[in-house]
Symmetry: C2
């Protein structure tokens, strides 16, 4: 059952704003078994909207149109669709009441603007009267058109609560789709490909996809079949377990899970608390750990010791160590992690000190050089890494390497990091 998406907005066509909504809509539909054949992005232009809408209706069973439902002058979707399909426009009193009520609460400019938002093509079925910007549905010559607000949070709620259930009612359930994502860190795409390349030949009904999601690579496994096809589920699970075997330690998380949350649960299992000492990452590791709700159950504290003085003052790194070996050194990383573990009175610690760039590199320690320390009840490990990329990429991959290293230690008892350390070790 094919559908298309039309996204309307000058801000999209000019490249001013990233079109995240179409991606979200397409992904939701795909996972529900509805296939999208085309996404068309156009500006706030009456003729373009009409032409695209009529062309899409020729090609597919349903169309999702996003954007242009707002109150400002450039929001012309309702007018365009009425014109394209030969429908009158009418003020919907129930919608006007709701918008006015909300307008007062939200301090929105009142008057003619609100009336415009409540003026819909005749026959429009309002999807959710309580939504701030009401999306609606139109049936036209056996086809279904959904008009959705472009604001991400509203669009999301409309997709999940309205569009998917209604599409299933109107067109029948989509194909059975089984889908899983393995989030991989420490292997390149070529290496992953080599480990998995026989799978596609062995299991032709299962599709394997590779999607770089820096610094991870996400490997998707998709099995499609008719609702009643026997054995699809067991086939799917067989492939997933083979992928797990092939990638093993390199899988940091699956599906909606993430490295930070996986690490948190491992610490929780051990009743261990973590403290971090960050220099070049400047708080990124702490921020990632605490992005997980409940992280107070395993995270104690962090020290962002950007200056040498702070490394000495807060973490007790001896000034002689910094002078002799430098702030970016194995010795300093070791003292940093020891210092922060003592400060937080915890049994696990991570430290990062390096040169994120673009300046500060030397022939001996070029940009991208980062020392990471991992403190455990057993001992402290320190490795030197050389990460590629610009400042933000170096910081991101360094934080990932540190978090993943501790995950591997806690889960597999290995002290070998997932990202290969640099050979030269000073």
């Amino acid at each position: 059952m094919y559908g298309e998406i039309i996204a309307i907005g000058d801000e999209l066509i000019s490249g001013r704003v990233l079109n995240t909504t179409s991606t979200f809509v397409a992904h939701k539909l795909t996972l529900s078994g509805f296939s999208i054949k085309r996404i068309t992005v156009i500006g706030d232009d009456m003729a373009d909207i009409k032409e695209c809408l009529l062309a899409s209706l020729q090609r597919c069973a349903f169309v999702i149109i996003t954007g242009g439902l707002g109150a400002t002058a450039d929001d012309i979707t309702n007018e365009a669709v009425a014109g394209a399909l030969g429908l009158d426009l009418e003020i919907r009193q129930e919608l006007l009441d709701k918008i006015e009520e909300c307008g007062h609460k939200c301090d929105v400019a009142a008057g003619a603007y609100l009336e415009k938002m409540a003026t819909l093509p005749r026959g429009a079925e309002i999807l959710d009267i309580n939504s701030h910007a009401a999306g609606y549905l139109l049936r036209y010559k056996g086809k279904v058109l959904f008009f959705l607000p472009g604001v991400p949070s509203q669009l999301k709620a409309h997709m999940e609560n309205q569009v998917i259930p209604r599409l299933e009612d109107l067109l029948g359930a989509g194909q059975l789709i089984l889908y899983k994502v393995f989030k991989v860190f420490g292997l390149g795409e070529t290496e992953i490909n080599q480990r998995l390349e026989t799978f596609e030949a062995d299991f032709p009904d299962v599709q394997i996809g590779y999607y770089p999601n820096f610094p991870e690579i996400h490997v998707s496994v998709t099995a499609r079949g008719d609702g009643g096809k026997k054995g699809l589920k067991s086939l799917f699970e067989k492939v997933c377990s083979r992928v797990r075997q092939a990638l093993e330690k390199e899988i940091v998380a699956e599906d909606q899970d993430c490295l930070e949350a996986v690490l948190g649960r491992l610490l929780l299992d051990k009743k261990g608390f973590l403290a971090v000492a960050e220099s070049c990452t400047g708080g990124l590791v702490g921020q990632r750990i605490t992005s997980v709700s409940g992280s107070s159950g395993w995270f104690e504290c962090g020290a962002i010791t950007y200056s040498n003085e702070a490394k000495a003052q807060i973490l007790g790194v001896p000034r002689e160590i910094i002078e002799e070996y430098g702030a970016v050194s194995k010795q300093t990383a070791r003292r940093m992690v020891a210092g922060v573990m003592k400060l937080g009175n915890v049994s696990y610690g991570l430290s990062l000190t390096g040169i994120a760039g673009p300046t500060g590199g030397t022939p001996e320690k070029p940009v991208g050089t980062v020392y990471i320390g991992m403190g455990t009840p057993e001992k402290i490990f320190v490795e030197r890494f050389l990460f590629p990329g610009d400042r933000q990429e170096v910081r991101m991959i360094a934080s990932e390497t540190a978090l993943d290293w501790l995950r591997r230690y806690l889960k597999y008892g290995t002290h070998i990091p997932g990202y290969r350390p640099a050979s030269a070790s000073h």
Copy 2:
């Protein structure tokens, strides 16, 4: 001079991967004065590629096609375009040599794959023989087609160094476009609209756009005219200066600049150093500050005191204060900022303690309650805020409020934050 973009890839049409490349291409073209009328996203499907390509050529002067130039089986762009335009395919030896050379270096699987990448439609002009994946240009019935690799870094280099200069050569320079972005924090879209609404009537040649870029709203000013149009520049600058007057303190940065960098320069001017104490933001403020290269010139250190014990131990917040008023309180925020300024021996400090959610809220201190402390040589200020949104949004808007508050203090001498504090102040 209108153009269109066609983006090819199953990963795009299924919503698995965000289509950042089309946005980048559109933005580059727009800023160079070439207008994009349509972006079409399709899967790796021969018939769809052919149909879209021929339809686009009917409508516009140039087409940019991205994706599907790689070595794997689903990369069928070259074959499709040859079919659509009736061109033969031929192996380009100079390209094959380059790819093989690079393939050895990059450890890419060799053989038939590489030959595939070097097989282009007859007449293809290779844009940059030294690029990893070569894009090319085709001229067809007075129209220009650019085929570009989908990998962001390669695409970017191709757009800047090849596509824009060649388009200017082939089609003449684009319209003169003057463009500026004002990044605004602390005002809603409606409030900004009210301050600027007369502008569009006063200056019909200048377009003002509003783009939410959480937690900021970006206001763009665009003036378009023919290359020789007199007065466009002075008109543009007049509007920009009027926007600056109207939004004044609420503008945190302009164009490519950002709040973190603006704040850094203000601290540098004062020869002031900053230290931050974070609880609910968990390192986000530090991470944002240190995302700016050179931030060691104004940033001393940070303490991520997630637990109560860490607040007492590292920052010296008296345990009685935490017990009596709670970790999320005006009193604790005040002691946190005082503590971290002492720790770092600096004259400026920020502290944040709050409830980011989704759990931990109480009737008195609901989710979103955050106390921010700002330490200055003059005195310590503390305000209570109630931020909307989910965990990540609360953290993001809290970090923005803290950084912006200090920016306003340093730039305007005001101690009033840009985001309005909650009225109830405990």
